[in-house]
């Protein structure tokens, strides 16, 4: 088989009707541009962190959006917040804002004020 430089992911399944979408909906409120995401994966393809480790930002925001929050907090910490993903996104999704908001929803920080 010819090598196209990418692999096809295993299919995952979960029950959307049992998913808790509260945080996902909050995320959409905070970052309205995310509604325009088409899941193209451009963000993950350019990602700096991904050049070193298996971190897939598209997978992270996609699963978050579907209410599957398991292990995402740890995954998200790999991001360096460099912003390349925001710059390449063809739909103008503000990914840096998306990432910060996901981090804050998953691990609310103790702001000093």
């Amino acid at each position: 088989m010819s090598n196209f430089g990418f692999t096809i992911k295993k299919t995952r399944s979960f029950n959307l009707s049992q998913a808790d979408l509260r945080m996902a909906n909050r995320l959409l409120e905070e970052v309205p541009s995310y509604r325009k995401c088409i899941g193209c994966g451009g963000c993950a393809a350019t990602c700096s962190a991904r050049q070193f480790t298996d971190f897939d930002i598209r997978k992270v925001h996609n699963t978050f959006r579907r209410g599957q929050y398991d292990k995402l907090a740890d995954e998200l910490r790999k991001c360096m917040l460099c912003g390349k993903c925001t710059l390449v996104c063809p739909r103008g999704v503000n990914l840096r804002s998306l990432i910060i908001n996901m981090r804050q929803l998953l691990t609310p920080s103790n702001e000093t004020f």
Partner: protein, 593 residues
């Protein structure tokens, strides 16, 4: 009691209150200094650094020279009130020491003319009387301008004045009342005892004797009350800046700086802000997007009062960190650090998040220059290719440190308040650079450059590529041709205002072509809107900011708009018909073969 009258009581109480409250606050803040700041104070408290501090206090707290440099009318207004009032106190103290007979109390200096009536028409005392009238006139001219500014800020060359709270407005009215009341009281007394100078005597003579007799006590009492109100409200309002700036200048000269968390030093900075509003006028968010509640003056006020928790968080988020306000602040408050403090995310997440960088081994680059393009340069590969062409042409051996794998310098994390994480990242990069034995670090991204310069302690010199190319041309290692192409240059925020690099890119562009001036450049260059400091602006808003910046750059009809940051280049490229290039690309095209 001689030389006493009940009307002085409000003034005396006000003065005592003022010193007690200020003293309490200042001591409390000093206790909140962090260890590093305390150590610096102990080390430098009585060193020679005090002398320049005193000089700066004189120039800034009294003469307001920095404001004058930016806007002479505003400078005159501040100077006449501050320096004039200072002179009134000092000269008044001398005058009353000479004149007062009998017991001397400190209020005698303030209400001198009420307690001292016989002034010989010639001699020292009359000289002081005339001098005091002149100084009072000087202060009044400033108060008059302040009133004009409230009515119409453009008269004083400002687009907008700060929106004040009720407290701030009340205390301002009491300040404005002090000097006209002093004028009237002294005038009325002059009518009765002929002890006035050219100003007070002429105004006093307009009153009839019975009217003057009737008004004398009420006017002196009102003057005393106005002083009392002002003194008691001062520590809780923006006028706290009058004393606080003195301390801030002292601490700054001792070497104290903001930390990443709120410290006592930050508290001094917050209170040293006079809410003059000079940070509003050139803020791109205000100028282009009409957003008028996030500017530094409001952030500082909210942080100081700590009453609008949500406002602080919201205002803290929406800012480009373009350094413009920090550049314009006449008190030199470190506004970018305070913005970061307001975004501090706390220390909940203590794990080392970037363990995946550990196995990244340095290349042995002895005798070579390490070239760090920066993440964004990965998205604009022509910049790094041009740099390689330049290195080769100049015979410089280099190692492209982040060619296929980009490590972020950590600034974006830091700007968003993830301080612990940014520190982890910095440690990894320091190790990596330390292990490769390179002779210097050259970067193409101003954001990285600013970070390497100010947040890292690297043992090798760091250059931005504009600086580096400039030195290559100056030393003759790189020969370039001068073409007829015309350029305008955009000063990226982090390179210009952030690091003070203005001359090198201009020298380079003059060597390879014709550089045209633009209307807002160097310190006043307009942010391209893509600054990583902001995460909340929408794409439409960023586009508007970009267009405002491009309007300035394309005005003189250049052949090429040149920038020195991959981010600005990306921002501009789709916004104009004019060619947009990075300075490295321009130079690479003009190398003499």
């Amino acid at each position: 009691m001689a030389n006493f009258h009940p009307f002085v009581v409000p003034f005396v109480l006000g003065t005592i209150g003022l010193f007690v409250i200020c003293g309490y606050k200042y001591v409390r803040w000093i206790k909140q200094f962090d260890r590093k700041q305390q150590a610096l104070i102990r080390k430098n408290m009585f060193s020679t650094k005090i002398l320049p501090a005193i000089w700066e206090m004189f120039c800034e707290c009294l003469l307001h020279l920095r404001i004058s440099k930016k806007n002479w009318r505003l400078g005159y207004m501040h100077r006449s009130i501050a320096f004039g009032w200072f002179l009134l106190i000092v000269v008044g103290a001398i005058e009353s020491r000479i004149g007062i007979k009998g017991p001397f109390h400190f209020w005698c200096a303030i209400f001198y003319r009420f307690f001292h009536h016989n002034i010989p028409a010639n001699g020292t005392e009359m000289f002081f009387t005339q001098l005091m009238d002149l100084i009072l006139l000087y202060v009044l001219s400033g108060i008059f301008l302040a009133m004009l500014k409230k009515i119409h800020s453009r008269i004083l060359g400002m687009k907008r004045t700060t929106k004040h709270t009720i407290m701030d407005t009340t205390v301002k009215i009491s300040l404005w009342a002090i000097f006209p009341l002093r004028l009237l009281s002294e005038s009325v007394t002059a009518r009765l005892y002929a002890n006035g100078g050219f100003l007070t005597q002429s105004i006093g003579d307009l009153f009839s004797r019975p009217v003057a007799e009737f008004l004398e006590l009420p006017l002196w009492s009102l003057y005393s009350i106005a002083l009392c109100v002002f003194f008691l409200m001062m520590p809780f309002t923006r006028y706290m800046h009058i004393f606080t700036e003195v301390f801030l200048i002292y601490f700054r000269k001792l070497g104290l700086r903001d930390s990443v968390k709120m410290t006592g030093y930050t508290k001094y900075e917050l209170s040293a802000c006079s809410r003059c509003g000079m940070c509003i006028d050139r803020c791109p968010l205000y100028n282009t997007l009409d957003i008028n509640d996030v500017q530094s003056v409001y952030l500082l006020r909210n942080l100081r009062n700590l009453e609008h928790h949500q406002d602080i968080l919201a205002a803290g988020k929406n800012c480009l960190m373009c350094h413009q306000c920090a550049e314009d602040c006449p008190v030199n408050i470190d506004l970018m650090s305070i913005r970061r403090i307001s975004r501090d995310k706390g220390d909940t997440d203590m794990a080392d998040n970037y363990r995946y960088l550990d196995p990244v081994k340095g290349f042995n680059a002895i005798g070579r220059v390490a070239y760090f393009g920066g993440c964004m340069t990965q998205l604009t590969p022509t910049i790094s290719e041009s740099m390689k062409t330049i290195f080769d042409a100049a015979g410089v051996k280099y190692w492209h440190l982040d060619g296929d794998r980009a490590i972020c310098c950590g600034r974006p994390l830091m700007q968003q308040g993830f301080n612990k994480q940014a520190a982890d990242l910095r440690r990894k990069i320091t190790e990596l650079i330390g292990s490769c034995n390179a002779t210097a670090l050259v970067t193409s991204c101003p954001i990285c450059y600013n970070t390497f310069k100010h947040e890292y302690n690297l043992t090798i010199p760091v250059y931005h590529h504009t600086e580096y190319i400039d030195s290559l041309i100056k030393s003759g290692k790189l020969s370039v041709k001068q073409s007829d192409t015309t350029f305008t240059f955009h000063d990226p925020c982090d390179l210009g205002r952030g690091c003070g690099i203005y001359d090198q890119p201009r020298a380079v562009l003059k060597a390879v072509g014709q550089l045209k001036k633009v209307s807002a450049e160097k310190e006043n260059s307009v942010c391209c809107g893509m600054n990583l400091g902001n995460t909340v602006l929408s794409l439409e808003q960023q586009t508007k900011l970009r267009d405002a910046s491009l309007k300035v750059l394309t005005e003189p009809n250049p052949d090429v708009v040149v920038t020195a940051c991959p981010m600005c280049k990306k921002a501009f490229r789709h916004g104009t018909e004019v060619n947009v290039k990075d300075i490295a690309e321009v130079v690479a095209e003009e190398i003499k073969k």
